[in-house]
């Protein structure tokens, strides 16, 4: 692994943290629904870095949270995060990013924005919910259909984040073509 890879992995881990610390970002066509951008950082890690480095970036971020840094949105952190009922979503992050990165690699002929949106939706929404929802059921005993209804409220926000991830990936790949490592 080169020095540059280490820095890139650290960069995206820090990006996930920084986006979680920013004040919720306003989205014009959904005024009044502030969304925290943390999972946007997770999507971007997969979209921009590709599967291997993307997963390492997410694991690094999770490791730092476990060490005790309050970097999850809302200032949460520490080992307690891993004992909470929504830990499945958190554990699903690296798997979601793995799938996101693999889709980016497999769709090199597509326009960047389209590939990024599809990759983020399948990987960072689909796969992460696939871990998170059964996780809540497993821990709390609430039936899976009820959990799905409860988490459905977050899906519009997640779809918007996937769209923003597409926009960002397209813009960055034009401004800094070398930064789209998932396709390098």
């Amino acid at each position: 692994m080169t020095d540059r890879s280490v820095v890139q992995i650290a960069f995206y881990a820090a990006l996930i943290a920084a986006l979680g610390l920013l004040p919720p970002i306003a989205v014009p066509f959904l005024s009044g629904v502030p969304i925290t951008a943390q999972t946007l950082g997770v999507m971007l890690a997969g979209v921009m870095l590709g599967p291997i480095r993307g997963v390492l970036a997410v694991l690094l971020f999770m490791f730092i949270v476990a060490l005790g840094a309050p970097l999850l949105s809302g200032g949460r952190g520490g080992l307690g995060v891993f004992a909470g009922p929504t830990v499945g979503f958190f554990v699903g992050w690296p798997f979601g990013v793995l799938v996101t990165g693999m889709i980016m690699k497999a769709t090199k002929s597509w326009p960047v924005w389209l590939a990024a949106v599809v990759a983020a939706c399948v990987g960072c929404i689909g796969v992460i919910y696939l871990f998170g929802v059964p996780g809540v059921t497993l821990i709390t005993g609430v039936p899976i259909d009820k959990v799905l209804i409860g988490t459905a409220a977050f899906i519009p926000g997640d779809l918007i984040k996937a769209a923003i991830a597409g926009l960002v990936a397209q813009t960055v790949s034009r401004g800094l073509p070398g930064a789209l490592l998932s396709r390098a």
Binding site: M1, T2, D3, R4, V6, V7, Q8, I9, A10, F11, A13, A14, L15, A17, A18, L21, L22, P23, I25, A26, V27, P28, A37, L40, L44, L60, F61, F63, I64, L67, G68, A69, P70, L71, G74, R76, G77, G78, L79, G80, V81, F82, A83, G84, P85, T86, I139, T140, G141, V142, K146, I164, L167, V168, T171, V172, G175, L176, A179
Partner: protein, 223 residues
């Protein structure tokens, strides 16, 4: 600011991080196997007493449950409605004690000590030809990057506010990424110039490193 650690001199602060970590894993496993309401209640009270043993400062830290409180209430109400309030109470006691216990380790262990305690799990990366100090370097880089990224974003947001009056927009994220990525490139170069992520030990890429190091030295002479 970057850690949930609460400075102090209590017995838990003095206890080695590795011991606390192993104990936490064992106790959590035992808690998971417990289903008796009385025993769980006792475990929860014992957890609270551990917090109390840290003094008033410790008692205040029970607020770590606050972000979870809303969810716990909903879960309890759900089980109440489906006619099994005992299950609901069991859930609250389970999650409450496990989260609080894990948090207890976090608030009484410095980030560095935690890192040192977890170091053995990184030994296997030796086989990948990497120095086990790479993860520690990566952690340090992230902790240094976060405020830097926030600074870059805030500068952009300020300019945006001056122009539009709006607070912040999703439109800022792409230019923010481009600026921040450019900054990280400089960091990567500086790191290579100083011997790289693994230090000077591995001989494999020595020639390469000398080349970069030489370039950096030229840069540094005027300063």
């Amino acid at each position: 600011m970057m850690s949930l650690y609460v400075p102090g001199q209590s017995w838990l602060h003095r206890c080695p991080a590795g011991v606390k970590f192993v104990l936490l894993c064992v106790i959590s496993a035992v808690l998971l196997a417990m289903h008796d309401l009385w025993l769980l209640g006792l475990a929860f009270v014992a957890t609270l007493m551990l917090y109390a043993s840290l003094g008033p400062q410790g008692v205040r830290q029970v607020s770590a449950l606050k972000p979870l409180a809303f969810l716990l209430v909903i879960l309890f109400l759900f089980h109440l409605m489906t006619g099994d309030w005992q299950q609901g109470l069991r859930l609250i006691l389970h999650l409450g004690s496990m989260v609080l216990l894990a948090n207890l380790v976090t608030i009484t262990t410095r980030l560095d000590d935690m890192m040192a305690a977890l170091r053995p799990i990184f030994q296997p990366i030796r086989f990948l030809g990497l120095s086990p100090s790479v993860p520690a370097l990566a952690v340090a880089l992230v902790i240094r990057f976060v405020p830097e990224l926030l600074r870059v974003y805030n500068a952009l947001a300020e300019a945006y506010r001056a122009k539009t009056g709006a607070r912040g927009s999703y439109r800022l994220i792409a230019p923010f990424m481009i600026q921040a990525l450019a900054m990280s490139e400089n960091v990567a170069e500086a790191l290579s110039a100083r011997g790289g992520a693994s230090g000077f030990e591995p001989a494999g890429s020595a020639r390469d490193k000398n080349a970069v190091g030489g370039a950096a030295m030229k840069e540094e002479i005027p300063s």
